[in-house]
């Protein structure tokens, strides 16, 4: 039972991640590979605020959201100028620099040793210390994040994003401020993924930089690509598939030594198959162009 709850928490975290990434990929049309860096920034800022300042969970998450939102300028300002391959490279650079900072800024982040003893979230004195309570908490948070995103995407702002993705020049010629829209989309996506990061930090109560590498970004990207982009259910399906698939593999008799390798191999194969036979993902509507 605890195992299922644990999976559910991971699913909740990755639901937030894929929703936010979909905002950029499916609605912004930008292949962002720096998402794990923002996930890590969220996790680290929240954890440090709780550990060093003794803040509660909510102010800490608030701070993480603000910091990630501001740092999102590092990818959103280049996105004004670059699209396609060039944007991929810029976000790769951001990912790499972000990871180096987490790894090398030892005074603040404790470097490769990571941060331990991150407290569980508490609200009005009630601490979510059992796994059931954490599951409930994570699910409610994920639900709220998804609801906010859905409402935003249904609004005129969501339509502006779609218009920008399909033809930026046309949107601009109709008097829409596409640069502002990009800025806001990145800010929102990075803030959301910071929420996911702080959830992760409080749940596992230990974080180190290796959880926020390029590989993690690629995993997030695969979820969105496999699930599909451009609508609400695509990323949800993607997170569900890529979270449950490796767990199903546990029931097949694979030696432990190669289990991680086999899992990654399947991710890779899924990406190739998707690219060839279903570029819009399992249940997406938008083909990456």
């Amino acid at each position: 039972m605890n195992y299922l709850l644990h999976l559910l928490i991971y699913l909740d975290i990755y639901l937030i991640v894929t929703m936010s990434l979909n905002l950029l990929m499916g609605y912004g049309g930008l292949l962002q590979v720096a998402h794990a860096a923002y996930y890590g920034i969220g996790a680290y800022v929240a954890a440090l605020a709780m550990l060093k300042f003794g803040w509660g969970f909510f102010p800490a998450v608030g701070l993480a959201v603000v910091v990630a939102g501001i740092l999102s300028l590092a990818v959103s300002l280049p996105a004004w100028r670059f699209r396609g391959d060039y944007f991929v490279m810029v976000s790769l650079a951001v990912q790499s620099v972000g990871y180096s900072l987490l790894y090398n800024w030892v005074d603040l982040t404790n470097g490769p040793f990571g941060l331990t003893g991150i407290p569980r979230p508490s609200i009005f004195g009630y601490e979510f210390d059992t796994i059931g309570a954490v599951t409930l908490f994570a699910s409610v948070t994920a639900g709220m994040c998804i609801l906010c995103t859905v409402l935003l995407l249904k609004s005129p702002w969501g339509r502006l994003l779609k218009a920008m993705r399909d033809d930026e020049l046309a949107a601009r010629s109709l008097g829409k401020n596409t640069r502002m829209a990009k800025l806001q989309a990145f800010m929102l996506a990075c803030a959301l993924v910071a929420v996911a990061g702080s959830l992760y930090a409080t749940y596992v109560s230990y974080i180190d930089p290796t959880s926020f590498t390029l590989d993690e970004s690629i995993l997030m990207l695969s979820m969105v690509i496999v699930g599909g982009t451009g609508n609400i259910r695509g990323p949800l399906v993607g997170a569900l598939i890529l979270i449950t698939l490796p767990e199903l593999l546990r029931f097949v008799q694979i030696p432990d030594a190669v289990a991680a390798n086999v899992r990654l191999m399947i991710y890779g194969l899924l990406l190739v198959l998707m690219a060839h036979f279903r570029p819009q993902g399992v249940s997406g509507t938008y083909r990456l162009q």
Binding site: L31, F82, R83, G268, M274, A275, H276, L288
Partner: protein, 289 residues
């Protein structure tokens, strides 16, 4: 001086990989991440051959052959069919990433995740006017300089070299002239594989190898290509040498942990200040999508 030479040799080896990347990138526009598999796989083939007792020369030939065949397979089985369906660059990138992820795991499953070495014990050194170089460094530097020179002459002097340059300039025009660009693309991939494998073997003799070193190399090659200027074949070579020297200086003056961050900062600087690179032709970045 010592550091400069270390950097120069590292840069020359990197230039081979960079040229392998640039060949495919200039010729086909594909972001060739799967190149990393060739880089990671070739030394393992050589190791297998040496352990089987067939001798070094046969081993080297077999591993280069493996690289060429694998590289052609990429085009024939992966990118060719995608190109026929006029897939976007993002789809090519995703497919290439997927191939990389799954094949690297195959290598890791067959040969294990550990770092291996091709030679035993400490390498002999040689003192050249105050600069101490190991034999494998000397071999790497000399062999890669020779290969690079041979490639550049071949590109300038032969008919197929001219076709390569035409392909990277305007593939549609070339095919209108009656050249078979599908076959030419396979040749491009084959040559890219050959150069990459040569670099991988030389590097493996010097510093050892493991299955996961490929992606990092490809990223460096990509940075070298961009700062050298896309569309140019001399560019990536100069870019890679610059990068090698910069990286060894960073290791000496700061720390090895800042290598990646500095590399990508250089990339970002180039993207903003000189997006066409050192030898590229100026043009609107958005127009080159």
């Amino acid at each position: 001086m010592q550091i400069l030479f270390n950097g120069l040799i590292q840069g020359l080896l990197l230039a081979l990989v960079g040229l392998g990347f640039a060949l495919v990138y200039n010729g086909t526009g594909i972001f060739h991440i799967a190149q990393g598999v060739i880089y990671a796989g070739a030394p393992f083939i050589l190791l297998m051959c040496v352990q089987a007792g067939v001798g070094w020369s046969v081993g080297v030939v077999l591993s280069l052959l493996f690289a060429v065949v694998l590289s052609c397979l990429y085009e024939v089985a992966n990118h060719g069919p995608l190109q026929k369906r006029e897939a976007s660059k993002e789809i090519h990138l995703i497919a290439s990433l997927g191939v990389y992820i799954s094949l690297v795991q195959v290598i890791a499953i067959i040969w294990g995740n550990e770092t291996r070495a091709l030679r035993n014990g400490v390498d002999e050194t040689i003192n050249l006017a105050g600069v101490i170089l190991t034999h494998s460094q000397l071999l790497g530097g000399a062999a890669s300089a020779a290969l690079l020179a041979a490639f550049l002459i071949w590109l300038k002097r032969t008919d197929i070299g001219l076709q390569f340059r035409a392909l990277s300039d305007n593939p549609t025009q070339l095919s209108l002239m009656g050249y078979n660009i599908r076959r030419l693309r396979v040749v491009v991939f084959a040559l890219s594989g050959l150069l990459t494998a040569a670099a991988a073997l030389l590097m493996a003799v010097d510093i050892g190898f493991d299955p996961h070193s490929g992606l990092q190399m490809v990223l460096l090659a990509m940075v070298a290509t961009i700062i050298g200027g896309r569309g140019s074949f001399l560019g990536p070579i100069v870019g890679a040498i610059m990068l090698g020297i910069l990286r060894s200086q960073v290791v000496w003056y700061a720390s090895a942990r800042w290598e990646e961050a500095m590399t990508f900062l250089l990339l970002v600087m180039f993207l903003f200040l000189r997006p066409q690179g050192l030898f590229g032709q100026a043009g609107r970045v958005e127009a080159q999508l």
